[in-house]
Each structure stands twice: as structure tokens, then as C-alpha cells.
Symmetry: C2
Subunit: 194 residues, 2 copies
């Protein structure tokens, strides 16, 4: 005996959440157990709502409740920013500078995980390049993200469309002394004239 | 715009869990969104099960699915270990040494939070002392836990029942250099002859 069955079961389900171990799951389970019934009902309703009503935008692959997402509906598709996942759009939208549209790949090319170019939404990207002036490749600055950006750039550049990659360098507030070599090397080689 | 409404709502519900901020809640929400439907259904079923079928043992106050918990059903009530919350029982049961029963107070005396002796299950403890040989006070070693233990000890000792308090001292694996004064002082005064 450790936890009674319903608690053990809830703890087991909660450990499926990212980075949630048994202790954290137990804290959450106790909180749910001790919370007012309305809170548990609202949580259940919110989970159901997300599972039933959120799907992918038929144009860009972002999360939406409709057929086409708010961004695709309201902005001009002259500049397309290519990202790995819908959550990257949330991060990029926070800076408020970008007025173009997005394209979600739904993953990156990764031979290690058996993800090839046909497993992500590259074909869908190529199919919507009519009238597009620039494609910004905003995949993560890691091995897979870099390889995916290079792969897509090689496909699109011959079409005469401007292809750019988000800049790499030292992050705001960082300390040169502790920066890793790869970042520092990139920051030096991408230096700009003042 | 930041998150679409169903996601924002689920994130809001998840931030009600202990120590879960918006970023963590967003990670959980995305995980739930991307998980198989069965996982979300099992999570919902587990939450419902806990809210509907878990209640307090009518004898000791522990969590149970029945009227009386497994421990009260199967063990002799000669030694009662008094704890603040049901989750303390889970911790104490892990050590497997204790063969007695428990009594959950459901809180501790705390004038700051307007919790008096009548707000916790002290009367219920006094009502089950018939034939009891020892009462172990296992409330937390903090101000409220200590005060509650002292209060209960004063009530029970006159009845001729042995009353003990769990030991305080340096925790396993700790370093004397960094121990707080109160712990160190307790470890010195409670030293045992070898």
C-alpha cells in the first residue's frame, strides 16, 4: 500500500505531463483532490475543449478553432516565417515586429529520429509561394533546425524568392566570458558595422 | 492575441496547480493538446474518480474509498500516530517500521490563520483513546506543528497514556557546517549515549 487506487491512477496520468515526476504528480493530485469541485470540473471542461475544438489551420498549420487561423485571415502573405511548431508562433508574436504570416513545419528533418523531408510540411510550403517576396527560416539554432533551414533554402532560392535565416549571436544580457564557442564564433563572424 | 481561447483557458486552469506558472502551464497544455485522445480521456476519468470516490476514513481521517481505511481495518489501535495531513501517512508508511494506526488532524493550531484547537480533529482523537498505549505526535517540526503537539500532549498525558514526539536532529546526509542553529541545538541537546 502506498496511495489508494484512485490517487495512484491520477498520479500515474499526471506523470505523463512533461518533466513531471511522481512527487510533483502527487502534489498536483492532492491539490486536485482538495480543490473545490468546480475547479476540477473547469479543468476537465478545459481539457475537453482543447481536445475537441483546437486543430490545425488549413493554410499555415498553426493551432486554430476555425478552418483558417486569425493570422492567415488578416495578414498579407508576402513574407512567410517558417517555424517548427505552433508554439514558436506564440513566442514570435510576442515581439510584435513581424507583420507577415507563418508556416508550421510540424517538425524538423532528423535522420536520427527517422524524420525525412517528406514527413514535415515542406511540400505545403512550396505550394503557397505564389506572390511571396521573402521566406524567413526560423527553425531552432540546433543541428536539426539548421539542417532543415539549409534544405528548404536550397529548394526555394532557385525560385528567385529571398530566403533569410534568423540571426545567431550572443543573447541579450549574456556574458561573453561564459558564452559557448559556437555562439561566440557566430557572433564574431556575423558582426555588423556601426 | 497570444493563445487561442481554448488553450488560454486550459493554461489558466493549470496555473491553479501548486507552483505552476504560465510557462509550465503552457507546456502542460501543449502536451495535453498533442497527446492521443485516450490519454486526455484517461486523465479526465482519473480526475473524476478522485473527486467522486475519495473521501475521509470515518475513524482516522485518512483518504479512503471505503468508509474505513485499510490501515484502520487491519491494524491494532494500540499506538496512534498523530499527523497533520493524509499525505504524511504516505510518507510514514514508506519506512515500513510503524505497525500502529494514524489520526489525521486535518490541520494544525495556527492563531495567525485563525485555526484554533476546535477547528482540527482533536476531539475525535480524544474519543478514540480507549485501550491506547501510546500516542506519537508526528506533526511537522515547525512553530505550528510544535505548538499543536504540545497542546495535545497536555491533554493526553493526564490520562496516563504515553505521549511521544518524533525526534528532531540533523537529517541524514546533511552537513554540520551548513545546518541551521535551531536544528544543531536540537541535535546537541537530544544527543544519545553510544
Amino acid at each position: 500500500m502506498k496511495y489508494i487506487e484512485p490517487l495512484a491512477r491520477l498520479i500515474g496520468q499526471l506523470t505523463k505531463l512533461p518533466s513531471v515526476g511522481e512527487k510533483t504528480a502527487a502534489r498536483y493530485a492532492y491539490a486536485i483532490l482538495n480543490a473545490p469541485d468546480e475547479d476540477a470540473e473547469e479543468l476537465i471542461a478545459a481539457i475537453k475543449d482543447v481536445k475537441e475544438n483546437v486543430h490545425f489551420c488549413s493554410v499555415c498549420g498553426n493551432y486554430t478553432e476555425d478552418d483558417v487561423c486569425e493570422i492567415c485571415k488578416t495578414r498579407e502573405p508576402k513574407v512567410i516565417c517558417v517555424v517548427k511548431e505552433p508554439r514558436d508562433i506564440v513566442a514570435l508574436e510576442k515581439i510584435k515586429d513581424f507583420k507577415g504570416v507563418y508556416h508550421v513545419l510540424g517538425g524538423v528533418i532528423s535522420p536520427m529520429e527517422h524524420v525525412g523531408p517528406n514527413d514535415i510540411r515542406i511540400k505545403e510550403l512550396l505550394a503557397r509561394l505564389d506572390g511571396v517576396e521573402e521566406v524567413i527560416l526560423a527553425t531552432n539554432p540546433d543541428v536539426e533546425g539548421e539542417a532543415t533551414a539549409m534544405y528548404i533554402a536550397r529548394l526555394i532560392k532557385p525560385l528567385g524568392i529571398k530566403v533569410t535565416r534568423i540571426a545567431r549571436g550572443l543573447p541579450e544580457g549574456s556574458v561573453i566570458e561564459y558564452a559557448d564557442e559556437s555562439t561566440l564564433s557566430r557572433a564574431m563572424s556575423s558582426r555588423i558595422t556601426l
